[in-house]
Symmetry: C2
Subunit: 208 residues, 2 copies
Amino acid sequence: MSAAGDPALASPRVRARRRRRRGEILAAALRAFRDQGYHATTLDDLAAQLDVRKAALYHYFPDKEAILYACHRESLLEVGRLIAEARTRYDSAAEQLAHVIREHVRVMTDTLQGSPFAFDVAALSPAHQRRVIAARDTYERQLREIIEAGVRRGEFARVSPKIAVFAILGAINWIARWYRPDGPVRGPELGQQFAQHLVGGVTCHRRP
Amino acid sequence: MSAAGDPALASPRVRARRRRRRGEILAAALRAFRDQGYHATTLDDLAAQLDVRKAALYHYFPDKEAILYACHRESLLEVGRLIAEARTRYDSAAEQLAHVIREHVRVMTDTLQGSPFAFDVAALSPAHQRRVIAARDTYERQLREIIEAGVRRGEFARVSPKIAVFAILGAINWIARWYRPDGPVRGPELGQQFAQHLVGGVTCHRRP
């Protein structure tokens, strides 16, 4: 147990502060991994950016790999929630798919700030790699199910759901290759156009 | 001048053989870079795969970086030709764009055999990096021009051509992340669906 004590026994105020602090560490880590690369970033860099001693980071994470895994885990949790949200809010496959695309783009541009770490599982421990890959596989399957339902109900053209998901995730994942938070393209505009483009393309080509 | 003599003075038959041999070296290199990674591949590996002595490779390329650059250069030349081909063959922006997407997918699946080297310019010399990046920029601009023309003529919705190109190139470049020549997805089917999906999405969402 760290010097900060057992988190489960801490007061709500202390727990809220710890959660906030943890979020700040992850945000600083994402920026550093994006700008310098994961391997070139040290815990000293992160401590300097956060203006804390390196020892303070150890209250939250045992090492750099644990920070990288937490970044993966939080963004995958966020993306996983989008599927449930889309299904609760919307009935049509087109609206569900548009919601997931818009919000996944938001995760890429806001939460991840264009960090490309999301592709790179090689730096994770084997156990963490397995969990990240399993979570991604689940997400891909859920996206395919939305498209399958749209094809079945005649909302979408008779596309291969597998290929359609590859096109959609390719467009979204590629954001990390070119997007910069201070660049000319705004996140919400990007999410809106991607949703129209990528949903429009499976909705419309049944009318040739 | 290599032991093979001045290529400009060689007979047509000899020149044809040299071209074929050069193509075989590039194809073997692409497979090796894809399967083992560029850095892990040696000229000895390539010579062994081609069943020639390493010295024979030096008739064609001075070193491994020259082979990588030739791979980049040939695929960029091929992709660049698609734009001219699309403009010659088709009048509508939709047909031009569909042609470029279908054929660019073919370059990814057939010529490059799913090799992801196309993203990775870091292994090239600075001069070669600049040329590859300049050729890519030209291709992106030409794609934007096709979409701009489609928007101007009312063939396409009022999309941002810049964002539309990012979606299209994201979907296509991502192929290298998942495509395997011996996998379940066939190249022509992939090109056809990508063209319908990605052209349909800019053509159709003007009709809400």
